[in-house]
Subunit: 207 residues, 2 copies
């Protein structure tokens, strides 16, 4: 592998690739060491436990996953435009990090400790932005620009639409033998469809 970075970084990077691909429990520290080109004991020398190593990676990925929705867009564009842009930016992030959705689903459900720890901290750290978003949304609904919907439901819808293709991708790949270009095209189209679906679903009733 890359000789410019030191072994600690090397281990971290290889662990990341493996954990993203197979999840925590299907990767052994022996696998990581083999991939990094060092001895298994060294993995423990730098990170003490497999859980430690995993958590570093997982936390980073989770933060990355949420980042776009935990920052405020202070441009003066209309609410719905800003929402669309957020959603697009989020989808673009996932295109660059296709395995993140699966990793999050997998480990957040399987490990109660990890889940409890993470969820509480995220909830507490983002209450402000959530409330801001909430009040903006309800304002738009009052104005009749958006179909009535709860903030939580909308967020769930958005996340759902954005992650689903990355969950299904392996299945599609195993049925159709896509090359890279085809996948890029498929993701581009799916991005458009995901955004469009949400946008259309938010149109108020015709009167």
């Amino acid at each position: 592998m890359n000789k410019d970075i030191n072994m600690e970084q090397q281990i971290l990077q290889c662990a990341e690739e493996l954990f993203l691909e197979k999840g925590f429990s299907l990767v052994s520290t022996t696998d990581i060491a083999k991939k990094a080109g060092c001895n298994q004991a060294l993995v423990h020398y730098y990170f003490r436990t497999k859980e430690n190593l995993f958590q570093q990676i997982f936390q980073e990925k989770f933060t990355k996953f949420l980042y776009i929705f935990t920052t405020f867009d202070d441009s003066d564009e209309p609410f719905i435009t800003r929402l669309r842009k957020k959603m697009e930016a989020h989808f673009d992030l996932l295109i660059q990090n296709r395995q993140i959705p699966f990793m999050i689903i997998n480990e957040l459900i399987l490990n109660e400790n990890r889940r409890n720890k993470l969820v509480k901290s995220i909830y507490n750290n983002n209450l402000d932005i959530y409330r801001k978003f909430d009040s903006e949304l309800q304002e738009e609904i009052k104005k009749g620009n958006i179909r009535p919907i709860s903030t939580l439901d909308l967020l769930i819808n958005i996340v759902s639409m954005n992650i689903i293709i990355f969950i299904i991708l392996p299945v599609l790949e195993s049925q159709f033998n896509f090359d890279n270009e085809e996948i890029t095209e498929l993701l581009k189209q799916r991005k458009h469809e995901a955004v469009e679906t949400i946008m259309c679903s938010l149109r108020p009733e015709k009167k």
Copy 2:
């Protein structure tokens, strides 16, 4: 556990509960035996391998998951009404089998062999119903009753909307301490929202 069924059934049932909860790799045949109240060797006596046992269960769950979408509703109701009913029936099924979505995602992604085997057979067995649905949908679009959308995208949207709450549920539960009644209510509301989101997203553009 239940004394009326024989040990083979007992093992199968306990294995099912454990696999649904933790997935294939986090459950050992020892765990299953312990839960079933027998010796670990007996699990192998009846099912030979852990993989065998798992596949029986997984296949059944997957078939169950798809069933509603692989059968044709021959009532004379309009397309959109039949679609809505399918979606509601599917959601109801998931309410009764909350861990199915996670199991499917988890094992379909993690195990390439299982994936390849299952996906091919499902694809081949359901081409007819897919084509029927496809032509009905495109007909409706032509008539201007539904916003233009590809059949695959629509199916992905529906599945996505229907499964997401069952994926997120453990996260919500770990943040808020819901009792059973609250969860039932939450799922009922979410069902409504999921169906509504799809229905609204399919409305054609106003002219």
